[in-house]
């Protein structure tokens, strides 16, 4: 092998100094080496994120004309989106459903995360797997399961009828906003538990003992030590749920009925049967901006609140 390198080296002799120089520079600059290693990933992600979104934004300023686009730029789609009551109503409803669903899921999941973090000592791994398992199973199937349960002839209605408790199926179960909220809460529960569990697990147990030694009862200790220290997890869970739920498509489409339609369904319709892609783009951009504004406001408020408490 050393023989081979020697021969190769002899052939490459004239170029050697230049290459060695560049090589040395390359080896010396840590940042350069790091970025060259990162470049395949970074380039693909940069192209994959920036170009589609640039085109999405551009198209939102176009106008649909028959099967073609009028490519003169105008804000018509946006003004329509703001003036037309349908879009406003759908957007508000999506925010409301997502908000209610997020709060309910976070509040209901917190005790669960607390229990596993503080009260499970043996077989903790099994509890964690049990909590996160649904996250790994098909989202579509989880939503579909609720259609079976809440349906007109579904498990609840046919079960209650079989027991003789009701004569007519309960109609409010399926195709309502309630159905959408319940289904979404169930489908996203695992996403809420994990971040809260992680931040609860990280809490230094000696702080709790110190609080107790200094005279705090269980409730005061929870409110003054555990809850503030687990706040990052609660904030993360809230954002992880709120952002994607606003744009959810499957659940309202399967369980919402006309009453439970959300903005995601409207965006899809613009790219589907309505066939107005520029309008759909404008709605997508609008939704993203509104969601981002909500998320940033939430982060700002919680930070201010934290500073105020501290």
């Amino acid at each position: 092998m050393s023989n081979g390198t020697a021969v190769a080296g002899a052939i490459a002799e004239p170029r050697r100094t230049l290459r060695a120089g560049l090589g040395a520079l390359f080896m010396r600059s840590e940042a350069l080496r790091g970025y060259s290693l990162l470049s395949p990933t970074l380039l693909i992600m940069a192209f994959g994120i920036c170009i589609p979104f640039a085109i999405l934004i551009t198209m939102s300023f176009w106008t649909q004309q028959g099967f073609d686009f009028d490519t003169t730029l105008s804000v018509r789609n946006y003004s329509k989106a703001f003036e037309h009551p349908v879009y406003e109503a759908l957007m508000l409803r999506s925010l409301a459903i997502s908000g209610i669903c997020t709060i309910a899921t976070v509040v209901l999941s917190y005790p669960m995360a607390y229990y596993v973090a503080f009260h499970v000592h043996r077989h903790k791994m099994i509890w964690i797997i049990l909590m996160t398992l649904p996250f790994w199973t098909s989202y579509l199937l989880r939503v579909f399961a609720w259609k079976i349960i809440l349906g007109y002839n579904g498990a609840i209605n046919s079960g209650l009828k079989g027991l003789g408790l009701i004569d007519q199926p309960l109609e409010f179960l399926l195709y309502s906003q309630t159905a959408v909220v319940i289904t979404l809460a169930h489908a996203w529960a695992a996403f809420a538990i994990l971040p809260m569990y992680v931040s609860l697990e990280k809490i230094d147990r000696t702080l709790l003992e110190a609080a107790t030694d200094l005279g705090d009862g269980p409730v005061a200790r929870f409110l003054r030590v555990t809850l503030p220290l687990s706040l990052p997890g609660i904030i993360a869970a809230t954002l992880i749920l709120f952002i994607p739920i606003v744009g959810d498509y499957i659940t309202p489409a399967l369980l919402g009925g006309p009453d439970g339609m959300m903005i995601g369904n409207m965006i899809q319709a613009q790219f589907g049967k309505v066939n107005n892609w520029p309008m759909g783009s404008a709605l997508a951009i609008g939704m993203m901006l509104i969601v981002a504004a909500c998320a940033l406001t939430f982060m700002f408020v919680t930070r201010k609140a934290k500073e105020y408490i501290a």
């Binding site: 790091g34 990162l38 503080f118 649904p134």
Partner: protein, 272 residues
């Protein structure tokens, strides 16, 4: 360790709450297998007799198998490419001090916070403007973009978890960069790579909304199921298929957890 201190004494109500919570998490999903064995085309109580005919029908369902194969193909390609890109990125950000590291990492993680429907329509518009026909390739591309952040997030702790000096020792002993990677780094991060492959495959296999916008004539499995949901007569078949998918994914999760914990356990003694 005095684990059972006065702080951590048993809390019965909380324990019951946890059990109820788990029941809420699992019972709805268990209705799928329950009704998949029910000998009736209607998904309703009371249950009729036990049957396996929905499963038999499913195995004779050609389009479903085609969709399954499509999903597997997309999932395998996606997970391999995303994990590959994840390895590069994770090694770069954990091994080198780079200016602007934090914003670059958050940029790569961006797909995690972009709603899938928006990413989907953005890619759809791009494909149509470029005149690229929608196919399994476009779905794969979309899936790679959403999987890279997950691959990276899985792999970074692995790279952080072992001592950089082991790699330096290998370099000092005369191995070049590639051999160091193959003979030192790769075996060390191997459990992370497996976890990343499994995670990316599951995400791609389950992903619906992007595939919904980016699919051509060949559907992936979730798209196929979505199409079937419109026909009440096909419902039991979907239930059988869904139950099978649930069973497989439960198995995969337990397997991957087993791989992960095993990897950590074999590593801890050397770490301490």
């Amino acid at each position: 360790m005095s684990e059972v201190s006065y702080i951590q004494r048993r809390n019965r109500p909380l324990q019951y709450y946890a059990l109820i919570y788990l029941a809420f998490l699992y019972i709805p999903v268990l209705f799928l297998p329950l009704f998949s064995f029910n000998d009736s085309i209607y998904v309703a109580f009371p249950l009729k007799s036990f049957t396996l005919k929905w499963y038999e029908q499913m195995f004779a369902n050609e389009p479903m198998f085609a969709a399954l194969m499509n999903s597997i193909r997309v999932g395998v390609v996606t997970s391999v490419i995303a994990t590959f890109l994840g390895i590069f990125a994770a090694k770069a950000v954990t091994r080198y001090r780079m200016p602007g590291r934090a914003p670059v990492v958050s940029f790569i993680m961006l797909p995690l916070v972009i709603p899938g429907i928006i990413f989907g329509v953005a890619l759809l518009i791009l494909m149509s403007r470029l005149g690229i026909r929608l196919s399994l390739y476009t779905i794969t591309l979309g899936h790679i973009l959403i999987c890279v952040p997950f691959a990276m997030a899985t792999l970074i702790p692995r790279f952080e978890g072992f001592d950089k000096s082991i790699e330096e020792a290998s370099a000092d002993l005369g191995e070049n960069m590639w051999w160091t990677f193959w003979r030192v780094t790769f075996p060390m991060v191997f459990p992370g790579i497996i976890a990343s492959l499994l995670l990316c495959f599951t995400i791609s296999f389950d992903e619906f909304i992007m595939a919904f916008f980016l699919s051509g004539t060949d559907p992936t499995l979730p798209l196929f199921m979505w199409g079937q949901l419109r026909f009440p007569a096909k419902l039991p078949g979907v239930l059988a298929l869904g139950s099978l998918i649930l069973a497989v994914s439960f198995f995969v999760v337990f397997f991957s957890q087993w791989v992960r914990t095993r990897g950590i356990r074999t590593q801890t003694p050397s770490g301490e």
